[in-house]
């Protein structure tokens, strides 16, 4: 399984670097193996990212939105390499600015066909990427009810 581990690691690392550049419009992202090896238990995975125009940073110095977007790139790198049939994402776009919400929406659309995506959001940009939209609300009794929203009704 060591063989398999290294093969999968390389593949995800490649996807991460690619998706990061797509989402940030440039910059560099790397996954590095640290530790003595070869025993898998002694290994760890380091994440290094460099937003466009900046120096390679310690993850803590990144801004809230830069961290969220880098995490999204890592998540979708996994989903590309090891596709799950579906994915539920609960407001992962809340720290993003409007331009990055658009990039995130385009990323979602590029994954259509690979897996089903169920996305909970308050952001217009993300909503407009959806094929189907459900609204949830509290009714007069204090319980949740669901209604399907026709996409034509969403404000542009």
């Amino acid at each position: 399984t060591q063989e398999l581990f290294h093969k999968s690691f390389q593949a995800v690392a490649r996807q991460f670097a690619e998706l990061y550049q797509e989402l940030f419009g440039g910059g560099v992202a790397q996954l590095r193996l640290v530790g003595e090896g070869p025993d898998l238990d002694s290994l760890g995975v380091e994440v290094m990212v460099q937003p466009p125009g900046k120096k390679l940073q310690h993850l803590d110095l990144l801004s809230g939105g830069e961290k969220a977007l880098a995490a999204i790139a890592l998540l979708f790198a996994f989903l590309r390499e090891r596709p799950a049939p579906f994915c539920v994402l609960d407001e992962i776009d809340s720290a993003l600015d409007d331009a990055n919400v658009e990039r995130f929406a385009r990323l979602l659309q590029s994954f259509k066909g690979r897996l089903q995506l169920i996305v909970i959001t308050h952001r217009q940009g993300t909503m407009s990427a959806a094929d189907a939209l459900y609204g949830v609300s509290m009714n007069g009794e204090g319980t949740s009810q669901l209604f399907s929203v026709r996409l034509a009704d969403v404000p542009a």
Binding site: V45, A71, F78, A84, C87, L89, K112, M127, T143
Partner: protein, 165 residues
Amino acid sequence: MQLRKLTMQGFKSFADRTQIVFEPGITAIVGPNGSGKSNIADAVRWVLGEQSVRSLRGAHMEDVIFAGSQGKRALGLAEVSLTIDNSDGQLPVPFTEVTVCRRLHRSGESEYLINQTPCRWKDVVDLFLDTGVGRDAYAIVSQGNVEALLSASPEERRQWFETAA
């Protein structure tokens, strides 16, 4: 494997029987704060066999049963069913459609069913074992948790690769 529909009754704020039909592409769920959106994500996590009360945002497992509101009395049973199109045969069962159901009674008794047939918790977990949607996979990202992928320890990150391998 495609999700077809999710049915909830007595689960958290979904007191009445509620059904959500999933599209093959992107389904967005929207609504005001506190309306029940994250409860839907919890329902998916729960029906797949989640045992950790913390990750369902409660103090006890009974917290998933509708606890009452100003307009409605508390219920004694939470039930969630997830129907999956298995025409590609990814799930190791001889059915083209699979419905997994989980119930919890206020007494603490819990039930699992696959296509109406009672089974054990382990059967549900085994069903999804190699599909990537098992309990601890990255397929369900809870609210406020997206950065956890980055802030995990190097060892934790390695473990994702092992499940991914």
